[in-house]
């Protein structure tokens, strides 16, 4: 059964959209991430115009990140002060990102930048997750504990604030910069940025792991709201029918994800996800190398 997407101006299989939404929901139920890094490239490969895939995915992430955020907020696993600093950085970043997106689109480079950025990020993330899960598995077997963080140069910067929930007393500059960069990335790639933000908060900022996911979701929620509104206003590329079906599929996915987490150990899940992400990266990479068949791309102007 096909459905016509009024902004994408093409039709897409209804169940296909629900399944992608379901998969993204599983990811957000398991890891508390929006799933944009998986959804956007799949949508693009399936024939949704890249610009619409990015804009609508930002809208989809608003919903999925709110679900996760509320969940962590109720259990008080959110550092509101750290989150606020990151919201400011992320907000500026995402506004800048949307204009950069428009510029790339106008010079005909958008598709390539999106593809290359995804290849790099999915590649790095996939390999990282694979190795990390294998190491944790080994360490668990040996009974070792991993040290949380080292005090480095980051902790010597000015404008220091006390982040009680994160168990940190650091400058606001690093979290601001990190969230600013991720805001730009989120707007260009149609992701929330949680999949980069979470490791950055743990390994660069050295935040207490307990509040990392909840706090990153707070930033992702805000950034995706700003990004959705900006994409609607500047590029008119948000398709509510598309994001609506993704969200609907996600309703069931989130619950399935929450159940899976209780049944299977974390390392195995991360390993499987790592493999999935890495294969998507290889697939996108091969598309750049293989003769595209059609050498011309046509864009209708109004």
């Amino acid at each position: 059964m096909d459905i016509y997407l009024p902004i994408a101006e093409t039709s897409q299989n209804l169940f296909f959209l629900l399944i992608i939404g379901f998969l993204a929901g599983i990811l957000s139920g398991m890891f508390g991430v929006g799933g944009g890094f998986l959804t956007t490239p799949i949508l693009i490969v399936s024939g949704i115009p890249p610009a619409v895939a990015v804009g609508s995915e930002a809208n989809h992430i608003v919903g999925s990140s709110l679900t996760g955020f509320l969940n962590y907020f109720r259990r008080k696993y959110v550092d509101l002060r750290m989150g606020s600093v990151m919201i400011v950085g992320g907000g500026f970043g995402s506004v800048l990102g949307v204009y950069f997106f428009k510029y790339l689109s106008s010079i005909g480079r958008l598709e390539e930048v999106i593809a290359i950025a995804y290849i790099v990020f999915l590649g790095v993330l996939g390999i990282y997750m694979l190795f990390e899960s294998l190491r944790t598995k080994k360490n668990k077997a040996l009974g070792n504990l991993i040290k949380l963080h080292d005090h480095g140069w980051l902790h010597g910067l000015p404008l220091r604030l006390k982040f009680r929930r994160s168990k940190l007393y650091i400058s606001v500059i690093p979290p601001f910069l990190i969230s600013f960069l991720i805001g730009i990335l989120a707007s260009i790639l149609g992701v929330g940025g949680g999949f980069i933000l979470v490791p950055a908060m743990i390994y660069i900022l050295g935040m207490s792991t307990q509040v990392v996911i909840g706090t990153s979701l707070m930033q992702v929620l805000f950034v995706s709201i700003v990004s959705t509104i900006m994409h609607s206003q500047v590029n008119q590329t948000v398709d509510v029918i598309l994001s609506g079906f993704l969200l609907f599929g996600g309703v069931f996915g989130v619950q399935a994800g929450a159940l899976i987490v209780q049944k299977i150990s974390g390392e195995i899940i991360r390993m499987l996800l790592g493999i999935l992400i890495f294969s998507l990266c290889v697939f996108l990479f091969s598309k750049l190398l293989i003769d595209p068949g059609l050498l011309y791309v046509i864009e209708f102007l109004k």
């Binding site: 016509y4 919903g63 709110l66 900006m230 509510v240 609907f248 050498l295």
Partner: protein, 247 residues
Amino acid sequence: MKLLFILPIFLSFFCKTIICKDNLIAEFLDNQINIDVGFTGKKLSYFGALNTPGDLVIIVTGPRKEIKVLKKEKKIWFWINSKSRLFSDVPTYYYVASSKPLSQIKNDAFLRINQIGLQNLRFEGAEEIEDDKRLEWREGIIETMKKIGNYNSSRGEIEIIDQYLFKTEISFSSDISEGTYIVDTLLLKNEEIIGSKRSFINVSKSGLGEKIYMFATKNSLIYGFFAVLIALFFGFLVNELIRRINA
């Protein structure tokens, strides 16, 4: 620009023939295509009757638009967009059906002047391209349009029943553009036009799809807030569901 001069001549030619040589009638069962949320493409039946037997040609041309064409080239190992050009007056849809191969119906000069048949389509714009490269770009555009289903790759068939009745089907994919499509029907005998008729197909968004599209383009900022609200509602709903299940 060239088209602006050719078009009136072309049109006056048609008007005259309609009045003088009214040898055919043709109609659509339905000439309106509504693109709603459930739209997956459509087939229209076009049929009519002839006063006198002859050869038929039906040409369907979608609204002409300006297009931006990106050409991919291999740089080192990677296929990337290397050049982009703007073309204007490119039909967003093109379809020809005839009762016989076109070359057997009318001479090539006539087909070329009136842009009948894919190989005779002309696009304007992109003046900076040298003449020899121009052909390459034109072929590229036509090939791409065929692949995405906007141009038909082979000549369509017209079924002629008992010499005087004819019937054909024109199909449209879900990716079609909005606007007025021109349908020209020509009746020829011994290379001479003895009857013609111009009809129109109207393609427009409708229903929920149209409302969303209009909302998104006319009030884009409010639409953005609206999109966010829907997503927030879904997010909240899911959270409540999970809480109920876990409780």
